[in-house]
Symmetry: C2
């Protein structure tokens, strides 16, 4: 059995989640729009799951649109207005690609990957309708000061109204990487829109949601039968949404203890690796960082060689984000935080999860130390 | 156990399909974009499933874009061009809603729900880029003369080219209701684009595909990580697509025998009901009709009352399409074929499927006869 340390790319379906989904594959397979009692019961279960999801993030059920994943949610959010968009240089590809369809400004981050809320404020123009900042970065795990950004946006909104400018101004956050580790309460986060993904919290793939406060007017991308209050048509993914509800509930329930547990394990791994290699570079903010995340670079080494070497030692880690990794291009996030190419090219993204225990960390640290050592020796020859 | 006769609305997941999906929920949960061997194996399985799906419909893998269902596929097809669209008055809501976003013409159908290919040809203007005709109607089961329509389109295309008009002209068909009963070979159908849905062939909900011939240039609606050749971003629905491949393969394998079996059962049911009630009206073409489909109207009766009465007798049928049924509005399909409101309002859509056997038909026909009789007596009092 391998030690899997790439939970930021994918998580296995929790057995309890799969168990919750199973009935809706077989005996409760009905179309929730059908009129007879067993289908009405399916509709009720579906709505109850949506209600549970909504309540986990402090929202109302009517403010939640179920989608086929974070990418679709982001696209739905970004397609819901016209005008200028402000986001950051280190966003996920889906945010960058959606922003690229409109007039937009990319705000820089500091060397820890944090955006300065004042820079967001400065980028907002009179015609800006959307600000989108991921709660936590998928590569380096840095958590953004979303509350501060929300405050600035509120202030600009008030100033705009006073000046007679009625252009709406919304704050969207892709929180896909934060669920299970961070507070997802929409009011406490201060967001108007929030994207979440089931596949990152031990739920099914291709299930996501877009929260949009009542004040936000979404425009559907996918039209048809009028499901999801007309915002996203298509027969509902009953099993998927019920699985998402279960996954989110479990993630929320164990969040505090899991964060403590994961950060202890991560800190242990980080210490062992930095003790072994003085030149190793840790990226991401030392304090505002996801508990299960460790981004470490070994200057001069080739990360692709490292991950294949580690795989032979039964340790699975990533070189960058899964989306970027596939294309063999250098990470835009590491560029943005100013990592030298020779450092960036030797980067591993290690992301811990539910199944990660001390034994896994022991094995992983030994494997990484041995493999980095071996590569260094090879290059020194 | 109820007799379920609403397979046009939803089908249960086939146990073999679920079995094929299961590994990808647990041990093979990896993100197919990750670089290590177990993830590469998942990518290979995913691509193999897409290849199998493509080959079932006579296409190449690169011509298939996986989506979250027929509605998304249709929206993707319709968003891929600008200009005038021709479709029919009896299309599914998703086609009508997608067409409504552009300049479009709705072509009439005859009293059997068939469109005259000449009328399609006549509706095509010099700026028409898309013709969309469902292979089989979801309410009355009528099958359209797609081959003839394809011929006319080819002719117009040739005439256009000769006249120096380079506007592309594509034929799209929503074949969601036909899979498992009709030939889905894209070349034999003569289509440039084809929409299919896993949930109608005992596969998972929220899984669909859009076939687009190499000559068609699709424009993505959902952008991001660049999955599906950049046409539809988002981490792939590995389990769902593998389930779809299995479902489609099974549907194709048993198609001929299943069509014979279902049409015999359907004809038996139809005969018993029309023998019992001389005023009953059968809609849909007598010959070009889905084998498992029976649309029957009992003039003067209220279909909603009927379906609840039938439910009490353990028989589950629909009043119209699931999408329309939910809204309590009269079916646009029945309007289009000229059914009087007093006839349309007493309509049942009965759709047979894999689990339907002679015993189920016996039970259903007895229940329907008894219930219709009871309603007629109640109204006569």
């Amino acid at each position: 059995m391998s030690v899997y340390l790439d939970h930021a790319a994918a998580t296995p379906l929790d057995p309890a989640v799969l168990a919750a989904m199973q009935p809706y594959f077989s005996e409760a397979f009905y179309n929730p729009s059908s009129p007879y009692a067993p289908a009405v019961a399916v509709r009720r279960d579906y709505e109850a799951a949506k209600g549970a999801i909504a309540s986990t993030i402090g929202a109302k059920s009517g403010e939640i649109t179920m989608t086929a994943g974070a990418t679709e949610s982001i696209n739905l959010a970004f397609a819901s207005g016209g005008g200028h968009i402000v986001t950051t240089v280190i966003e996920h590809q889906s945010v960058l690609a959606a922003a690229a369809r409109a007039d937009h400004t990319l705000v820089d981050v500091d060397k820890n990957g944090r955006v300065d809320p004042a820079n967001i404020g400065a980028a907002i123009r009179p015609d800006t309708w959307l600000v989108s900042v991921a709660l936590a970065n998928n590569e380096i795990g840095t958590i953004q000061p979303l509350g501060k950004i929300a405050e600035i946006i509120k202030q600009i909104r008030d100033e705009r109204l006073a000046a007679g400018n009625t252009t709406p101004l919304y704050l969207h956050s892709d929180a896909s990487q934060g669920a299970g580790q961070l507070d997802m309460h929409v009011t406490r986060l201060g967001v108007d829109m929030l994207t979440l993904n089931a596949a990152k919290v031990y739920g099914p793939k291709q299930v996501g949601l877009l929260y949009a406060a009542r004040t936000v007017r979404l425009s559907p991308q996918i039209v048809g039968g009028g499901q999801e209050s007309g915002l996203r048509s298509g027969t509902e993914n009953v099993a998927g949404v019920i699985g998402f509800a279960k996954a989110l509930q479990q993630a929320d329930e164990h969040r505090h203890s899991e964060v403590m547990r994961l950060s202890k394990l991560r800190d242990d791994l980080q210490k062992r690796l930095t003790d072994a290699f003085e030149d190793a570079v840790i990226s991401g903010h030392h304090k505002y960082r996801l508990a299960g995340h460790l981004h470490i670079s070994f200057p001069g080494l080739d990360a692709e060689r490292l991950i294949f070497g580690l795989e032979a030692r039964d340790v699975l880690v990533a070189t960058g984000s899964a989306c970027a990794a596939n294309k063999g291009t250098r990470s835009h996030v590491l560029d943005a935080i100013g990592l030298e190419p020779s450092v960036a090219d030797g980067s591993l993204r290690i992301s811990l999860g539910k199944a990660t225990n001390q034994a896994a960390i022991d094995l992983a640290s030994e494997a990484i130390i041995a493999e980095v050592q071996r590569e260094k020796e090879r290059l020194a020859r």
